[in-house]
């Protein structure tokens, strides 16, 4: 039987993911910091290290059987995967933020102009949210430093991912609405989940028990 292939999001989640995997009995030594290999064989599993946004794609296409990635990435990706376990760590929030003190003014403008400009790195999440609220907005897709947009007049509001909220505060932005709370998830390819049910369900149960500790 071939090794179960696990796609892992590189970056901020990886350290805690290693802790989680080690806690449920998987060998994680090969994932040591500073490694450059992207496909890492390890005992009875094989790890694939990918950028977070690519993890759902790997799993949806069956290039990896399961993956560990943030719910924030899943919400933005639209990939067809199964979400099996809420791992609890990597907690962050999708929020709508506006320059502190200008919320009333921008809503007044919205009534006049009929539209608001919203800058974000997460256009799908932002679009879905405002559609659900019945607010007409123009989404401006940026690749970074979204907090900057209201200060320089690029947008009225922003939709961004925050963990502590410090960056927002330092840029005089206030949260006006929370869209979703996101944590790390164990995801699976739909067919792998059927074919390798024993191994994947066992991994899911162990991770769930660990997450509920």
């Amino acid at each position: 039987m071939r090794a179960l292939r696990i796609a892992l999001a590189q970056g901020t989640l990886l350290a805690e993911t290693r802790v989680a995997l080690a806690a449920v009995g998987l060998a994680t030594d090969a994932l040591a910091e500073g490694g450059r290999r992207l496909v890492v064989p390890s005992a009875d599993v094989e790890y694939v290290l990918a950028r977070p946004i690519d993890v759902p794609t790997h799993v949806a296409h069956g290039a990896a059987d399961v993956g560990i990635v943030g719910k924030d990435v899943l919400l933005e990706s639209d990939a067809d995967v199964l979400e099996l376990v809420d791992l609890g760590y990597g907690r962050c929030r999708f929020v709508v933020a506006a320059p502190a003190g200008s919320v009333d003014r921008s809503l007044d403008e919205y009534r006049h102009l009929g539209s608001l400009e919203v800058a974000t790195k997460y256009p799908r999440v932002a679009e879905r949210h405002f559609q659900g609220r019945g607010l007409q907005v123009e989404i401006i897709k940026l690749s970074g430093s979204v907090e900057l947009a209201p200060q320089v007049g690029l947008a009225d509001w922003i939709v961004d991912l925050v963990s502590t909220g410090r960056t927002l505060k330092e840029n005089s932005l206030a949260i006006i609405e929370e869209i979703a709370v996101c944590t790390a998830r164990l995801i699976a390819n739909r067919v792998s989940y059927a074919r390798d049910r024993e191994r994947i369900a066992a991994l899911a149960s162990r991770l769930e028990t660990w997450a509920a500790r």
Binding site: G62, L82, E83, D86, V191, A194, R195, R197, E198, A201
Partner: protein, 397 residues
């Protein structure tokens, strides 16, 4: 853009086209063996007719009358329309089969095709469990006839999860059901928990979603009545499948929840090792035809031909040739060449005169015309009859 093709469309070159034709013949023959007759739907439908595919995934355009049309996104829609219009009064069961290209809009850069072949059957007007067993057996049989080894058929029942969801307050049901179909099992369970489902029920739901086995005892514990009835149905299905000749390839998989919302009972998918997509999916969809004005029970399946082809090729499969292709080196007299070619073809030998640039993976042999009754084949001058016998299996190759 000279020579370019729209994204997601491609030329299917002769080698692959031959293989696809071989698959089509095998499948349509298997379907016919069970009494399924072919239906050929039109390529274009009104966009609003598409019921089983998200409208954003149909390839749409306006015609000169200003009507919004769509390239056929599936064949089930056409079947539903045909049944409602032409067989509205029919009481007997209707068995339809198809092999047709379908068109799906895909987001750019997803490595997906917008046109691909789908083959399948629809069994209309039979609500019995025997009908469910029949289509599952037919799927297993058809894939086996294609030469696909190691295929697993996963069988679930929409009623299992629905039984749990039905116990939730009305406002939570739609969200929980949509979450389950979209694959968000975390969301389904946490919605159920937030809506006040008991710990025992939650545990039963989670246990069920992870259950894949030939045995259905474990998921019965603490499951609601409606879910129990779904399990009763699956238990009753097992002996029918055995009797219909489906071997040990089946597994009951309560975590298999199709993405489409119109399934209403036994559902299934065919999977193989090392392919991240199912080869075929299907199930019972009583109620879909009612949308077209013909309330009839229905079940069926669709095979994604590119996935089947990919799995066959990965398993070392090759399209079987009926007989080798004979390349005939011409005589200086064209009438002699043409007479010899005609005589050979008349006896069932495939003949091309001269060389071919593309043999499409066929078994190719060569011969040279000597006179009207003789060719040189494998280094020996032989009478046409002898060569015919060699090439059509009438003697040792």
């Amino acid at each position: 853009m000279k020579g370019a093709l729209p994204r997601g469309f491609r030329d299917i070159l002769p080698t692959e086209a031959r293989e696809l034709h071989a698959i089509e013949r095998t499948l349509m023959h298997a379907f016919a063996q069970y009494g399924y007759v072919p239906l050929e739907p039109p390529t274009v439908e009104f966009a609003e007719s598409a019921v089983t595919v998200d409208e954003r995934r149909t390839v749409r355009f306006l015609d000169r009358d200003g009507r919004l049309l769509a390239l056929r996104p599936d064949v089930t829609t056409a079947v539903a329309r045909v049944v409602a219009q032409r067989y509205r009064q029919a009481d007997a069961t209707l068995r339809l089969a198809y092999f047709a290209p379908i068109f799906r809009e895909e987001a750019s850069m997803h490595g997906s095709e917008r046109e691909y072949d789908q083959a399948g059957v629809e069994l209309i007007g039979d609500a019995t469990l025997r009908a469910d067993a029949e289509v599952i057996a037919l799927l297993a049989d058809a894939l086996a006839r294609c030469g696909l080894p190691a295929v697993d058929i996963d069988i679930g029942h929409t009623g299992f999860v629905d039984g749990f969801i039905a116990e939730l307050p009305a406002e939570a049901r739609d969200t929980a059901g949509a979450a389950a179909r979209s694959g968000d099992l975390v969301g389904t369970v946490s919605l159920a928990r937030a809506a006040g489902m008991s710990a025992a029920r939650i545990a039963a739901l989670e246990r069920g979603l992870r259950h894949r086995s030939t045995d259905l005892a474990a998921p019965r514990v603490d499951a609601p009545d409606r879910s129990q009835r779904a399990l009763d149905t699956l238990d009753a299905l097992r002996p029918l499948l055995e009797a219909a000749g489906v071997d040990g390839a089946i597994r009951f998989d309560l975590g298999y929840i199709p993405a489409l919302p119109y399934y209403t009972g036994v559902v299934f998918q065919a999977i193989v090792p090392d392919l991240g997509f199912p080869i075929a999916t299907g199930g019972r969809y009583d109620g879909l035809l009612a949308r077209f004005g013909a309330d009839r029970a229905a079940t069926g399946f669709g095979i994604a031909i590119p996935h089947l082809h990919q799995a066959l090729v990965a398993a070392g499969w090759q399209a079987q040739a009926e007989s080798p292709l004979l390349l005939l080196a011409a005589h200086r007299d064209d009438t002699t060449t043409l007479r010899v070619a005609a005589a050979l073809r008349g006896a069932g030998v495939a003949v091309a005169i001269g060389e071919v640039a593309e043999s499409a993976g066929q078994d190719v042999r060569r011969a040279r015309v000597i006179d009207e009754a003789h060719v040189e084949y494998e280094g020996t001058v032989r009478a046409l009859e002898a060569v015919i016998a060699l090439l059509t299996g009438g003697g040792p190759r």
